[in-house]
Amino acid sequence: MVALRKFVEVGFLLLLVLLPLGSAHLFSDFYIVLFLRIFIFGILMLGFDLLAGYCGLTSFGHAMFFGTGAYVAAITWKYLNNSVWLGILLGLGLNTIAGYILALLCVRTRTIYFVFLTLAFSQFFYVAADSWRLIGGTDGITGIPSPTLIPGISLGHRTGLYYFSLAFLVVAYWIARRIVNSHFGRVLKGIHENEERIKFLGYNASLIIRRVFLISGLFGSVAGTLMVCFQPFVPPTYYHVSLSGSFVIMALLGGMGTLVGPLLGTAIIIFMDDLLSTWFKESWMLCLGGIYILCVLYSPEGVTGIAKHISVTGVLTKLSNGLTKGLNLTKN
């Protein structure tokens, strides 16, 4: 199974690496932009899945890390120095401080209270960004210069940014995979299954939740910074609850707790977002809301959940079960 997954992963990576080469001849630049957005939100979703899928704590305010990453990067590049690394580092730094404090508060609650609290805090950030004139208020930050990879090489070009984001996505996926397979990752799953038992085994569950909250936030921070590379404009809606909500739906659609699922969900939602907004113009939010509802009604386990039901091993076990049953019947 692991070998098969590695094979699929490498295959996908190759496909994505080769994609921009064909863009000039086979299809328009549009797909590069679309995939760029999928990569950026994919990084965030990997972090989100660590918290929501593996640890079982659904954050309804993950946009706060995304927004902070974006705002810090925008301010850094506009007023300080337009090195992309400086933006990422400062974003991570501020998000570490903010995430540490928020984790201390949020860890006191579980299940639905956790949802409330994260939602309320992200809305706190939204109101702050929306009313603070110094960082642009409702208009947000505009006129951000495109960042440089190293002095002299700009990241303004779409294809360059495509590979840059892809590299980050691969690293993020690798880190997330390492976390999930590690001892820490198993304890996370344990907290999801039965927190009392994990505590009984001598683990400090609260500390572990705080750590995964912070880690998952840092993924979001990087995604926010990359978003500013892509769109040199930061509106306060980067903190908005509708963004946080769409993260939850992305994870749900793809299937939580699988890492690959949320990536798939991100791709589906972003693709649909684009399609619906061109087809339905003003009423696309209505259609997207309708799709969310259908998604919850008919596939609460997500796309990967459906895939699990029709997987090869599943079919084989069903077949063998049927066979043994048939043999037993003939014996009697």
Partner: protein, 287 residues
Amino acid sequence: MTFSTVMVNLLYGITIGSAYTLIAFGFTIIFGVMGVLNFAHGGFVMLGAYVGFTIIKLTKNFWISLFLAPLGIALLGGIVEKFLVSRFYGKDIHFTLFLTFGLSMVFSNAVLLIWGGVPQSIQLPYYFKGFINLFGIYYPKFRLFVLVFCCLLVSSLWIFLTRSRWGSVIRAGLFDIETVEAFGIDIYRVFSFLFIFCSGMAAVAGVIIGAMRSINPVMDLDFILVALSVVVIGGLGSFKGALIGSLILGLAEAFGAQAIPGFAKFTTWAIMVAVILLRPKGLFSER
């Protein structure tokens, strides 16, 4: 701050708080009894305000609108409960959250399509315009009406919940719905009734708050946040918590707007953080 500004803020805080109670009661009942996290509750408030706005425009009568708009929204609530929410009873609570989140998006966009994005204001009858002299302080007439109306509504609701047979069923449902079912009560009918009733109540709040402020297609979010903060402050599934939480929120908003204009919401968050630190499950949590 002089004495009269303190009094005006106090009155305004209680007025807003009592209107919030109508929203928070419905939200906490739907969550506590039915186990449904209704993110679309703010959407019902907003739809109530917009339907009320249209009815006033057509009939020129505030009272007809205050009666008909909640009725219409209650009907919509019944449809939503029957076809969507009822499928998720007894399942993971997160699913209802995701479902109603999608629903609130649909509501918000529908309002934008039907009524447009420009903020509107609900026309008040002439006798509600202007100010009234209350022991030396001038207070808008309509706000005074809202205060009296909401207090009457909340107290009759309180009596219904604490004194009547169905009220005791609801309160028992907050603790243990299975035991209620074991007593031979058809809980699914209770659920339908509650959802319809709470949607209607949200619409009442929508009409009167909409008439006090202005109405816009993103106001649903404000109200869902009000409901959530009240629940965090007061404790989930507690009527006393919903009442006190709403009043705290209303007062915090009124005085916060006075103290730091533009940052009124921060006082709310500060109170919320304090409550979480001291009592993670809210001030009056019964579970």
